[in-house]
Symmetry: C2
Subunit: 319 residues, 2 copies
DNA sequence: GTATCTTCTGAAACGCGTTTCAGAGCAAGC
DNA sequence: GCTTGCTCTGAAACGCGTTTCAGAAGATAC
């Protein structure tokens, strides 16, 4: 495959001139520019991206770190990221961690080895303290709360969002409320619990169910929930998919929603809409976009930024 | 940041020796090996992946081309791909095309510019004829049918799968069957239509609904379906999400499933299970794995392969 | 007419790890 | 004692595009 030196020889110009033509530098005479273009066509020249990357030090790649690519929760984030990346001529390198700390480290090592220009972290086990040790090698943006100043954070304000969700439930007359969370120790779960205790007068520790991530978990939850003696009148889920699993199983058991138990989801997935799930709509695609744009801005010298986004109520029939 | 030459100087050995230590070449004396390791530690050496890539010509990256990353249909494929890639120390570069031919071209151009070692195409607008023009630059594997010999294909045998789905419907006593397809001109849709006409005695052109991709489309379909005078007794969907949208809307309208119309989905998404959707289980995660492994094998000199996978019936309550 | 720009060109160095090749030193084979 | 072979080492070339720097030629300024 022809390289820049072959082109130079063929067009009888210097390598520098060919490079200038490639980069549309103005100081090339029309005549030579034409000759170079012809040579490139004749030899079927294709610029070697690797060489460019080594030379400039810019990879035009960003690593995206998330637990599972097929978990619907991340779909909107990734979609926003993908669109923004495409627009700015960046490629996304996806790294699936399965919640393993070691995989997160490997993914961030790409930064150290200059395989990518930046990192976007949608979920992490790693402490921010450790994450900061990677910061010297490139910008990092997270979709979670609690990041230090050096790390950009574009996230859903889970505390405020849960407060507003609880208010929606209260406006519908529900006072005895339970909440369904994902991993119990994650910052978002902690914020949600805090909101729960701050805002719900009848809050009870045993009305917090943790460890529910998927629709299958939602199915399981139905059994657990129904076996409980004292049950809340409404459930606030932190994920639409868990809510849907629960809803499906309740339907199967012919238990009326919202008469027996009211439900409020979180995310706003279209599939929830089909089953009339009331939910808190989260601007995840927009967050994805902004995560990318923030990272890009940082690469161009901007300061890290922190921004919390809020959610809105989407009417359904489960309240 | 220290490079290999700095290490060489610091350890008072040649650059070659440092390279040998990095690559665990046996012909390095213990003494020098130790000196090199010490120098690397002292200077905080990090191997520059870019330089390695330029030097070896191997990127350890594969581009994955698909219309939308957040479409649940692709979730399992991508999951399988991601797991296999991780195991073999490859990175996945995701390219979202939104069904645009031009985006597919850009994605495959990565191959030409040596930005990736291979390409995996989960869905494409591009003709195989055009796709073959990229073949010279690296292995390509598709998840669709009809690929020429030069392009690997690991796919669901849509014809056989639709036949077996139709048989399931017939075994449940349904003769008047309609089918719901995605894009009408895609090879999979054509194969499905063929199976429909070959296997269903009462097949009718107006019982083929095309253009249904998402759960929102499924909701829309309910209206269209119900407004039709002569309706089939059963619907065979080519996507669980479309089926679920339809199912939700039918529930909202208090129309009994399967009494009014029986439903059979396709894919086997967990969320379908929650709502008792009968479906044809597709081994998409396995296909993802094999797509990667095939591509890897081709990079190591193996021939392209074609393999059709079959689906199995997953019992639900919508038949 | 001299000084100062502007335009255009190319040699060489740079980014950095790998590979090839030549050769030195030493041991085993016969 | 001489050949063969193995172990170890490093200089130089290679992959390939970009950038720096020096300089030539022509144009403009005053």
């Amino acid at each position: 495959m022809a390289n820049i030196r072959d082109i130079a020889k063929h067009a009888d110009v210097s390598v520098t001139t060919v490079s200038r033509v490639l980069n549309e530098h103005p100081y090339v005479s029309k005549e030579k520019r034409v000759r170079v273009h012809e040579a490139m066509k004749e030899l079927g020249y294709l610029r070697n991206q690797q060489a460019l990357t080594l030379s400039t030090g810019k990879t035009q790649r960003i690593v995206v770190i998330l637990p599972y690519m097929d978990h619907p929760y991340y779909g909107f984030f990734v979609n926003g990221l993908a669109k923004a990346a495409l627009e700015h001529n960046y490629r996304l390198v996806m790294w699936q961690t399965e919640y393993k700390l070691n995989e997160e480290r490997q993914a961030l090592d790409l930064l150290k080895h200059r395989e990518v220009d930046g990192a976007i972290v949608l979920s992490h086990e790693m402490s921010f303290k450790e994450m900061e040790t990677y910061r010297a090698y490139g910008p990092i943006a997270v979709a979670t709360v609690g990041a230090p100043e050096t790390i950009s954070s574009i996230h859903v304000d889970h505390y405020a969002s849960f407060i507003s969700g609880i208010r929606v439930l209260q406006e519908h007359g529900y006072e005895e409320i339970g909440i369904i969370l994902s991993r119990s120790h994650s910052p978002s779960s902690l914020a949600r619990q805090q909101a729960y205790f701050d805002e719900v007068a009848h809050a009870r520790q045993q009305w917090i169910w943790t460890g529910y991530l998927t629709s299958e978990d939602g199915i399981r939850l139905a059994e657990t929930f129904l076996s409980q003696k004292e049950r809340p009148r409404a459930l606030f889920f932190s994920s639409d998919y868990v809510a849907l699993g629960f809803l499906g199983e309740m339907q199967r058991r012919h238990i009326a929603i919202p008469e027996e138990v009211a439900m409020l989801g979180f995310d706003g997935h279209p599939i929830g809409h089909a089953f009339g799930l009331s939910t808190m709509l989260s601007p995840n695609e927009k967050i994805g976009r902004r995560l990318f744009e923030t990272t890009l801005a940082e690469m161009n010298g901007a300061q890290p930024e922190t921004h919390g986004m809020t959610v809105s109520y989407q009417v359904g029939t489960t309240l």
